[in-house]
Symmetry: C2
Subunit: 759 residues, 2 copies
């Protein structure tokens, strides 16, 4: 270890594996500005051009360049692949060719094969037969165990987006570990852990096998490294190796698992330590340092998974959520901004704006002003960075090495169960449509669009005008059914994923003792809150068909909406969140995980809107006799956004959001917001400065997350209509509008573009 | 159901699936003698000849005629196969050709492939690669989870014969169900069961998937039936169909699982009801009835599994334990002997003596004298029937539809958990060598043969002469370690078998709610008891090597042995059994199963003897420098047999055995005994009559099991030496001596052949 750890401080992290302790002992906070940053190296520029050309080719071919159909992807399943070997400083591809999509059937064979056929590729019949006869997938297991309630809930889209046909995602391995310790040490550590697990229960038998599989994955990781000529068995000895080893840990994980979100973690501060050491030793220059981060960034931008057309409807533009977390504050009071945070953000300038990696700044008012100003400068320029409230999340126990998974979900991958720390991984579970639940409650459990019985725990409301208390009581009972059903589905999904599609590589980078949270989500939030507000504060009349089924509503009078900074509505928002969280807390969850809630929709708000009927506050879609939509719905706003109909300016929105107690939704509360640049100031400097103040205020008051888009409405809309790509943060992630379908573009155009700070 | 159930009595079994209730309501006790029995039909004779010819061919080829290597065997994996279609009344083969062995890798790939290579067949490389990369087997899972203790225990053979590389066996499906109800009804029933299982726990999620898999297997069973032109979806409408449907249920099960014991259950009484109805209707004659049973019997005699050479060392002659249970008493006081019991036994005369099916008579002194005499007549003639104590086992809760699994293990496959009934299936677990444990205890946990440390829970004994109390204390502690380790192994094996090699077909014929026992076994029993008796009642001197390691013993003085009907030894036997059972009872077992103990070795007593050093009462093997045996050991006696050195006659042996409380070993206490015919009487009639009296006495006093061989020692030994095959009951099953290896023959020759009733 002499060479690898030469010059590093501290011994505790040497004795017991701890990336957090290593960072704490060795990182260098940076208080300066961006003036030290360098340009791209020529080879990076060449590589970037080559990749851009491949992306163009891929777009021209409809989004897919090539696909594997017969090799089941795993850590060591493929030979080495390169984009442009002589210009590649950091190597490693998901398959043997750039953008050739891997075949990953263990989550679900049908889905994996649908990916092939949706893209015009053929199915390997022999492999198909083998799977059908001899190898169950997670999807097989899940549907075997699903109850009738779950199937109805799923069919009616009141529960949707469940990860029941591919990998669950949202897990973040500590990909720094191979670099810091070398894989041999990691194997030895896992072997020690194995010895400590007695056979006292089925759980421990399962855990012993899981750890064994982790060790196998680590051994395969060494094989993968060898394939690229890398000695991953030992620790990285310099910055180049540290970047390369870390990327290999990540790459190995995504070769095995194709979850919706494959986030990268708290990497910049870690790599900064190695870069800083090499800079101080004089082995590299800033030019080299920037090259390393850009070469890594290019690899992260290349991550792709095979997806079905149906998937792309939910998650427009095939996001990979390579969320990369930076900045934040340490428990010791030092900020955690490093030069490498700047280097990552600087890629947007050097390599061009990009949706991935999903750059995430953990914000705190105490961060250096120069860094905050730089962030705002980059956001105004690129609209491709998200910000999250570091302190708020730390207070919920995610620790000062927390990192964001997917869009808004904090995790503490190194959490030690024995110390009472938690959230070292997440069992992801998409979301329920609470508006459908409310509409169902009013109709005695009937589906709001199709009138079929979905649940039967309440009698229908028969009055012409809705009474708030009655509605609330039935909504509460219906939510009981919905959470029971949702929890059942989640327990099944994660049991079966562990059984048939265990992410042994990612798990190998996590503590052996799992202390997970289980991520439950909500959509239709603003419309539920506003509907309840209308019922409470105005008069809502039911419009019924010949069967007495309520298919529409008329609101008489005015009422406050969530997002207008009016407590009458915002209190209802808090009540709904608390109701959901309390109900979830009453359940026993898989592997004793803890229920956490997110209010987040990705771009699925578009799909959800289409599967939801009229409410007191919005119009659903209109179908023809064949079930085809002839009139699009008023789209749900994304995530925890207020409805697009809410009055009030930019700051009113923020104020309403910041009233939602994070504790009730500590998996994240996502706000995606657009503001015209001029609203923030006349000059760009003024804009940057004022935006810093706005974010400081929002986060200090308790807001958790902001997708900040600084854009002019007309300009964006014009570009979209003209087919000119715009990169913007859409809902917890960033995308290029060229990848949106027509409905998604339409929804984007419906969104609120603020021009005033106060409404 | 009109036609299928026409003439059957009772309605309870029609409303709720219950084979037991159907039998209770419909069977006809038979009090007459064997004079009604008929000869074989010509087509049966032809078929038998054809099969015998195939067996000769197979023997000439070294025991295997043909093997599959690329089709993974399952319920519906193969096309129909026939031996001699025009003479086959009952159809169905394990593969598409007679005696072509199926490929069954889900228990363990290496073992399945070893079966191929041991027999000169090649491995399918593609299938091999697929399994290695994508499909774990039970064996994979088990070894991932095994602890170091288990691996050491296994390596030293102190625990051995574990079903960790093939199917576990010992489960008996209610193969009567397709005949009585038709498969469609069984599917509907399982679908109802599925609805009753809420997702309250991992266990219930697992159970839901298991029931789903059972339903899938039932659907496949219909496909298998169609392949043979049978309509298994509906109930059987006559005796031929009842036999055929029942056999198909069994066949489907053994196409999927290759456990060491694939027992058939309480079939004769069930089929008798259909035969009786057809006889009464005048659709068939006795000639036809006998044909049906013989055609079925021929199919059961053909059952074969691919086995490795190593397996054959433990279980000589590749027994399949198609144990078929008959006779016994009903709870209502009526005996359960039917004409079909006679018909099954009569096959030994008509078709020739045979090791399989493993004919098992549930004995009770109250059975009709004519039947008991007939049994004894057949035993004297064939030595191929075993007898078990019906009343004793019923008192332990196995019910009046109990049937024997493997050799001595009672089960009640229809046990209803909700009624507090138990033992509807068994989790099988081979056995531990308690003599090795005793010898290890004396040497501080060191292996008695190889001196390596196996366990470390006791200090070695250092005195020259062994003190009984000290030895007992250390033996007790060592047995704690041994049972802890054994239980861990069993919990792992059954968890992983359910995970990777679930016998969905057999389970489909069992109640959805499992209420299992877990079968723990003992070998080295007589030698442990005798060693302790020698230490207590004589003086035992230790012989040590230069390290103080005890490698031999000298006994000074005389002492009683187990089997001599001397309470001083027999009390020690009871104490050892109780100790083992009490220790097992203190553990939580997989799926809340109940520990049961068997004292049973099959032919593995030969292998165990070779893995065990000198004890105070016997000599172990002598090895040369290369670890090759140069002098064979004094072989362990089989099962619960007294040592071959025990004095006393036939009845003394029985007396000692009958003192062992069945409750401490209610998975079975196996006695295999040889008596010269003349000892039982001068004429064969006298012999039959006296033997009836002996069995009545033995079972009334509490004996559980007897493998009755009525043979002259010299005659048998001469035949064996001359290579002339003899069929005899060897240890819980029956075999043909042509299939024994040299050591096994040697052991057989060492066995006690009684010539006196009292010693």
């Amino acid at each position: 270890m002499t060479k690898a750890w030469d010059g590093f401080k501290g011994t505790a992290w040497q004795e017991n594996i701890s990336v957090g302790q290593f960072v704490q002992d060795n990182y260098t906070p940076y208080d300066g500005d961006e003036s030290f940053l360098e340009k791209s190296t020529p080879r990076t520029t060449k590589l970037n051009e080559k990749i851009n050309k491949l992306v163009e080719e891929m777009d021209a071919k409809g989004g897919v360049l090539d696909m594997d159909n017969a090799i089941v992807s795993n850590v060591a399943s493929h030979k080495a692949g390169y984009v442009d070997q002589e210009n590649e400083v950091i190597v490693g591809l998901q398959t043997d060719k750039p953008f050739k999509l891997a075949f990953m059937p263990n989550g679900g064979l049908r889905t994996a094969e649908q990916c092939l056929t949706d893209n015009g590729y053929s199915i390997d019949q022999e492999l198909h037969d083998f799977y059908v006869k001899n190898r169950s997938t997670a999807n097989d297991g899940i549907f075997r165990a699903y109850t009738d309630d779950i199937k109805r809930a799923r069919h009616s889209h009141i529960v949707s987006g469940l990860p029941d046909a591919y990998s669950r995602g949202r897990i973040i391995g500590l990909y720094q570990k191979p670099a810091l310790y070398g894989v041999d040490r990691l194997i030895a550590e896992k072997q020690q852990d194995l010895k400590k697990i007695a056979i006292s229960s089925d759980e421990n038998i399962r855990l012993r096998e899981e750890i064994w599989l982790q060790i196998k994955a680590l051994k395969d990781l060494i094989v993968l490294g060898n394939e690229y000529g890398l000695e991953l068995d030992r620790p990285a000895e310099n910055a180049t190796e540290a970047v390369q080893w870390t990327y290999m840990g990540y790459l190995a994980s995504i070769k095995q698992a194709n979850g919706a979100a494959s986030s990268f973690g708290r990497i910049p501060i870690f790599l900064d330590i190695y870069i800083q050491r090499d800079l101080e030793k004089g082995i590299i220059t800033e030019f080299d340092a920037q090259e390393l981060i850009e070469q890594l960034t290019l690899k992260l931008r290349m991550v792709r998974f095979a997806r079905t057309d149906g998937y792309n409807e939910l998650y427009a533009s095939n996001p990979t959520f390579v969320t990369t977390s930076m900045a934040g504050m340490g428990a010791d009071g030092r900020h955690r901004v490093t030069k490498t945070d700047y280097r990552f953000l600087h890629c947007l300038d050097n390599l061009g704006n990009s949706a991935e990696p999903n750059l995430t700044v953990l914000w705190d008012a105490r961060l250096p002003e120069s860094f905050k100003e730089y962030c705002m400068k980059m956001s105004v320029k690129h609209s491709s960075i998200q910000y999250e409230n570091d302190k708020l999340m730390q207070e919920e126990g995610y620790g000062d090495m927390q990192c964001i998974s997917c869009c808004v979900s904090p995790l503490n991958p190194e959490a030690d169960k024995d110390k009472g720390e938690t959230h070292n991984l997440q069992y992801f579970g998409a979301r329920v449509n609470v508006l459908k639940c409310l509409l169902g409650a009013i109709n005695g459990g009937k589906d709001d669009l199709h009138k079929n019985q979905v649940f039967d725990v309440v009698e229908p409301i028969t009055t012409e005008y809705l009474e708030y208390e009655e509605v609330l009581e039935k909504f509460d009972k219906s939510m009981d059914w919905l959470t029971d059903t949702y929890v059942d589905a989640m327990n099944i999904i994660h049991f079966m994923t562990d059984k048939y599609n265990y992410e042994s590589m990612q798990m190998a980078f996590l503590p052996s003792k799992v202390t997970a949270n289980m991520g439950f989500g909500i959509c239709g939030f603003a419309n539920v809150v506003d509907s309840l507000s209308a019922i409470k504060h105005a008069k809502v009349k039911t419009i019924r068909d010949e069967d007495g089924f309520v298919y529409d509503y008329e609101v008489e009078g005015d009422f406050p909406r969530y997002g207008e900074n009016d407590d009458r509505a915002d209190d209802i928002a808090v009540m709904v969140l608390k109701m959901f969280k309390d109900k979830l807390d009453s359940h026993k969850l898989y592997k004793d995980s803890e229920a956490t809630v997110s209010v987040l929709t990705i771009t699925s708000n578009v799909a959800y809107s289409k599967q939801c009927g009229n409410s007191p506050v919005h119009k659903g879609p209109v179908f023809d006799e064949n079930g085809k939509i002839v009139k699009e719905p008023e789209f749900f706003s994304p995530g925890a956004n207020p409805s697009n109909k809410a009055k009030g300016g930019f700051l009113d929105n923020l104020a309403s959001l910041s009233k939602l107690p994070f504790h009730y939704a500590n998996d994240g509360i996502s706000l995606t917001i657009q503001g015209a640049p001029k609203m923030f100031g006349k000059t760009t400097e003024e804009q940057h400065h004022n935006l810093v103040g706005i974010l400081d205020g929002y986060f200090t008051k308790g807001g958790q997350h902001i997708n900040l888009n600084v854009l002019n409405h007309d300009e964006v809309i014009e570009k979209i209509k003209a087919g000119i790509p715009v990169i913007l943060r859409i809902s917890g992630y960033c995308l290029n509008t060229k990848d949106l379908n027509e409905e998604q573009k339409m929804e984007l155009c419906q969104r609120m573009f603020h021009e005033k700070l106060i409404g």
